[in-house]
Amino acid sequence: MGEVVAVEYRIDRRSGVPAFQQIVQQTKQALRLGVLVPGDRLPTAKDVAEKSAVNPNTTLKAYRELEREGLVEPRPGQGTFVRRTLGRPETGTDSPLYGELVAWMSKAAAAGLEQEDVAALVASALEKQYATGTTAVTGATTTRSTGE
């Protein structure tokens, strides 16, 4: 079995985003970027506790959430494994959508917008389109997965 644990979670204690949500977001980000692929084992709650001093119940809660979304599956006695990826052709940096976004960004820069202005515009457009009442947008900039 794939014994390489592919991700390490980076928990930001000051962000205000609950730790379990940070774990969910970072796992999804890793799935989107292909850092995690089907068959990979997620770190155990004990690993996460030892590395990041996070309560194991928090990690288990995040894994249950990911399991509910069908992204991972627990295998008794072995751990939690990735079932499917979130990577899609449209989310890659070679997709036309990405190209359009880059073009828009350079337009914004040409119009004299600062990085914060752009982030604020993107955040409110995101909210308008995908409003689910969460503040995940501000957390997205700090969401990052490390490791091989």
Partner: protein, 314 residues
Amino acid sequence: MSDVMYAGEPALEAHGLGMRYRRGWALRDCTFRLPAGRVCGLVGPNGAGKTTLLNIAAHVLKPTQGSLSLFGEAPGSVESGRRTAFLAQEKPLFRRFTVAETLRLGRELNPGWDQRAAEDIVRAGNVPFHAKIGTLSGGQRTRVAVALAFGKRPDLLLLDEPMSDLDPVVRHELMGTLLAEAGERGTTVVMSTHVLAELENVCDFLVVVSGGGVRLAGDVDDLMTVHTLITGVREGEGLPAALGYHTLVEARTSGRQFTALVRPEGPVTGPWEVAAPSMEELLLAYLRSPDAPPLITPTAQVQGQASGTGTVAA
């Protein structure tokens, strides 16, 4: 990992617990329930009764009023003595014993002793086994005391300001060990502290004592979701009248702005910015506002406890 933590058995229950010293009440009418398997932060200002509460649980003190039970037994019983480990603030160890002798003492005194777990914790800090306790630094001594508490393989671990004399690296490492061990074995942990930032992501249960009584108790997730932090523009003196509908924990004003931590009793609508508070903000608000209505969530309520005092509609 077991799912013991979601079973309903209480690890600790306090009923109208009170303690009076010559100088007055240290703890008064303290009633709450801690389900087994939780990692509970015990928070309060200096002199709020945290140490008193832990000392009663560890059978070092006898309460003046009320009662406390551990897994349904009195603190002095053989059963609860075997299942409980207490790490006092001053980390009492025999100064003339070596580290190895200290662990040996633990082995002799405790039937379920886990020598390997204890040695691993000592070894992780490179504390020499032949060194005398009296020659160790404060942090090393804490580590040995933690090893002694863990080696006992308790079901309930009571820690009084456990990390106060450790540097940040060791603190992080020992906290990680503690959480990993506790999670794997389903150990219930109660740890007192006033370093609030230390509790975030570590505790899944909180008990706040202040002014002798319980101000806040419950699962962290429940406590966090029933509070909202509202920031907005002041209208004349004080808070906008529309906020009066919600239960106010703390309000502060600065210049033209106000910030209020409330327990919403319905949707919060208005020209305000609404955010979820961090654990530290929540705790600070309660610690600064002794008059805020207390909140004991249903999981933290003792059976038959008057649900009038700050029950949440789930």
